[in-house]
Subunit: 475 residues, 2 copies
């Protein structure tokens, strides 16, 4: 975490109180506000614009994988939730329940979807007839609700926005492959759109999705060394197919259960962006998802030609597909610099009378604070700069992250290590050892790696290791 | 309604049973299916793709008007609903209520938003400080819930998707203007994107939104002469501002209540598209919102070069921004023709060995059933054809509609007229006359026109007329 002196007075020093820094940043940059119902959030325009960019980036990638968007109902009959035994156990404690509607008590209670496997499998079972209908690959963008005790904007809220993909396949291999493919899409998206490097891998039995055969997760390191689960992809086997009688007539003329998957990312990703890239001045947004990529500030705007020139430059940038805006408000230039730095806009352009005389514009980049003059209206230079910022942010994050991955051979090293780092340790795979780490280090297993474990012993119990796993404290 | 002989066997003849024709079309074209909870719908990929196109078209228009998207919570404290007297009266009977969450009974019941004026005004009241913060112009795309007794896919469902814009202004004039401006956006969108001509105007007191000072609506005529309310824009005056203490410090140093508006369109628009343009063969979709604009069908695909040529033409069309797809399935060409006609794809291209020999492609348009040969891969010709179809569909709808607007001087003429038409009649403006028409003709006032009424008398009671209004049966 940067030791740079606190810059914007109203934001708490991140080295002193990181959680408070986070809260200050999300509220003061107007990404979000607290909703009136406990645990809910209002996503304000600046935050929602990030979400729209995330949606666009993901929709493009989904389409390439043959995903079709659809929309399934919000309310799920309570009885559906109970059809898959592990699923109900996992989600029942945190659902919101509709008991009355249209002025009457309902015959059956309805739950607000915490996730939609049950209702979607019910519909798939109706639609699925023959092997010709497979694979089914759909996604929905929607709101879901999980009643949480402790909440924080974006990271954990009662209601949040997400996408949930749900697929059905004829074979185990194909479904397993689909879960892996979508995990790969998430990883590539996280790295290239969000500039956040991630570790991906299988989750432990304890950490897997309620009702899954296997859950694959991607874990992003935040600036405080804690982990944020940024996306998951589940191989569901025939668990939901059997619970919802989701069968198809195969080529060989026999009825078979399908194999399903589900995968999702949510508005948590905005929280990840903030805590992976932010600094003492506030947000630092990667250009690909930044609502405003370039802010143009007229200096001494009352002087002849300044307003016209800023508008000319803005128009040029917009024509090139760059999200550029002019801040023509009455406030001082200095006030505006702080404002847009806090809001994490990747590039700031200042244009004043002297710049115009020299045929130049003054350009400041948010990530490195470097400043340079470019030829006035040089669109290509700004395009290159945005590319460079995107690349630099990923590299910087990766370097920072890799420095904070430590190796542990025993429980003490794990306990010491998880204080600000991800800990890699050999593990026997049993739940007792996982619990022991949780009790003594407040850390959980994040994802299992593919690392070679031959000859290694579990850092907790000393028995032969089955995997090398990441332990970390997590959001 | 077209008398053309029923073509696709499974679709009911629209001249015999229009409601059943509608149900057949929405289900068989896989736009939608019934959800498991009564009154809910599942929007399937083909239907959802139309909705996404509607969203894109509207978002572009909204952006030009300075609208910013945001997201507000799904659940509203029951007490909020009660703050505006008329609002609660209108919506309380049809809300769904969450009484339990996280395994416990809630201290206060929460309603699932039927519309979000209350929760949004609560937030605006918190954010709004000074005249500098005005106007506030936000929109959200979301799901809402209104527990309805009688439901039909897209037209009236317990849960539906919509956009709701909510604005606050410093003056009455500005807010009134905003309500009108957004009505204008809707009208232009309905005509140019959906190819549906609409009548716009103010709603009667009886038909206005619960809590509004004035509601402006746009009414579209369906093929059976009934009206579908396709969008509304409300001037809310200070009703919600006062209920939620939404005040700002004006330039003159005094605290004033803001003036607000709200406006929305929903997935009903998909129902409007079906019933305004459909025919005996199924859907007829206007190119601007059609999920697939051009379907390419290889004829005798096993013969040399056919597959390659279809792919080449598809690639060319896609590169020009046309939503083109190839149907390479095993089914016969004839089966595919019927399938895509039913699904309303604007243009069908057939490419077979003889076409390739002649350097041609065979092109059929859905709206007029005209068929022509064009030079193989002539993208400009297809672009022109799509433009022409869009234009023709609007003109055809307008002509059909204008023929079905009749004038009435008395109640008998209204009763006779509303059977398959919109009736224009002078009206005194009183609720008794409105009720009388409803009782005797099952028709309601739709919107008031700007027509001159001097010297005219109310068609129902004979008193001096205050306006010329549209009466119609409505969805």
């Amino acid at each position: 975490m940067s030791k740079e002196k606190q810059f914007v007075k109203e934001i708490t020093d991140m080295t002193v109180d990181f959680p408070q820094w986070y809260t200050d940043v999300v509220l003061k940059t107007e990404l979000v506000d607290y909703g009136p119902v406990k645990g809910t959030m209002v996503i304000r325009p600046y935050g929602y614009a990030i979400w729209e960019n995330i949606q666009n980036e993901l929709n493009r990638r989904f389409k390439e994988k043959g995903v079709k968007n659809a929309y399934f109902p919000l309310l799920i009959p309570e009885s559906y939730m109970k059809k898959e035994a592990e699923h109900v156990e996992g989600f029942a404690p945190e659902v919101a329940v509709v008991t009355h509607a249209g002025g009457e008590k309902l015959q059956e209670n309805l739950v607000i979807r915490p996730t939609s496997e049950t209702i979607i499998c019910q519909m798939y079972a109706k639609w699925l007839q023959s092997y010709r209908d497979l694979p089914i690959i759909m996604n929905q963008w929607c709101n879901v609700m999980r009643w949480e005790k402790t909440t924080r904007p974006f990271l954990r809220t009662s209601e949040f926005l997400w996408q949930e993909g749900h697929t059905v396949h004829a074979t185990e291999e194909e479904a397993e492959q689909e879960a892996q493919t979508m995990l790969g899409v998430y990883k590539e998206f996280a790295e290239n759109a969000l500039a956040i490097p991630v570790f991906v891998g299988r989750k432990s039995e304890k950490e897997k999705f309620a009702g899954a055969v296997a859950t694959y997760g991607m874990e992003a390191m935040m600036l405080d060394g804690k982990s944020l689960q940024a996306g998951t992809s589940h191989y569901l086997g025939q668990n939901f197919a059997k619970a919802f009688d989701m069968k198809f007539l195969d080529k060989d003329g026999t009825l078979k259960y399908g194999y399903s998957t589900s995968w999702g990312v949510s508005t948590r990703l905005i929280g990840a962006l903030i805590m992976a890239h932010g600094d003492q001045r506030g947000l630092v947004l990667p250009p690909v998802v930044a609502p405003i990529q370039v802010i143009i500030i007229p200096v001494a705007a009352h002087k002849g030609g300044v307003t016209e020139k800023t508008e000319e430059v803005a128009a040029k940038l917009k024509a090139a597909g760059i999200r550029a805006e002019i801040d023509a408000r009455e406030e001082s230039a200095g006030w505006k610099f702080n404002e847009w730095e806090m809001k994490g806009v990747p590039v700031r352009i200042e244009i004043g009378p002297r710049d115009i005389e020299n045929g130049q514009m003054f350009v400041a980049r948010r990530d490195t604070h470097e400043k340079n003059s470019y030829a006035l209206g040089d669109v290509a230079a700004i395009e290159n700069l945005l590319c460079d910022i995107q690349k630099n942010m990923l590299e910087k994050s990766r370097k920072l992250r890799d420095e904070k991955v430590v190796w542990a051979e025993n429980l003490n090293e794990i306990i010491k290590g998880v204080d600000g780092n991800f800990v890699k340790a050999p593990w026997c795979g049993c739940r007792e050892c996982e619990e022991k780490v949780k009790q003594s280090a407040s850390a959980t297993t994040r994802v299992m790696t593919e690392d070679d474990v031959s000859g290694k012993t579990c850092a907790i119990c000393g028995k032969p290791a089955k995997t090398v796993v990441f332990f970390a404290r997590a959001y």
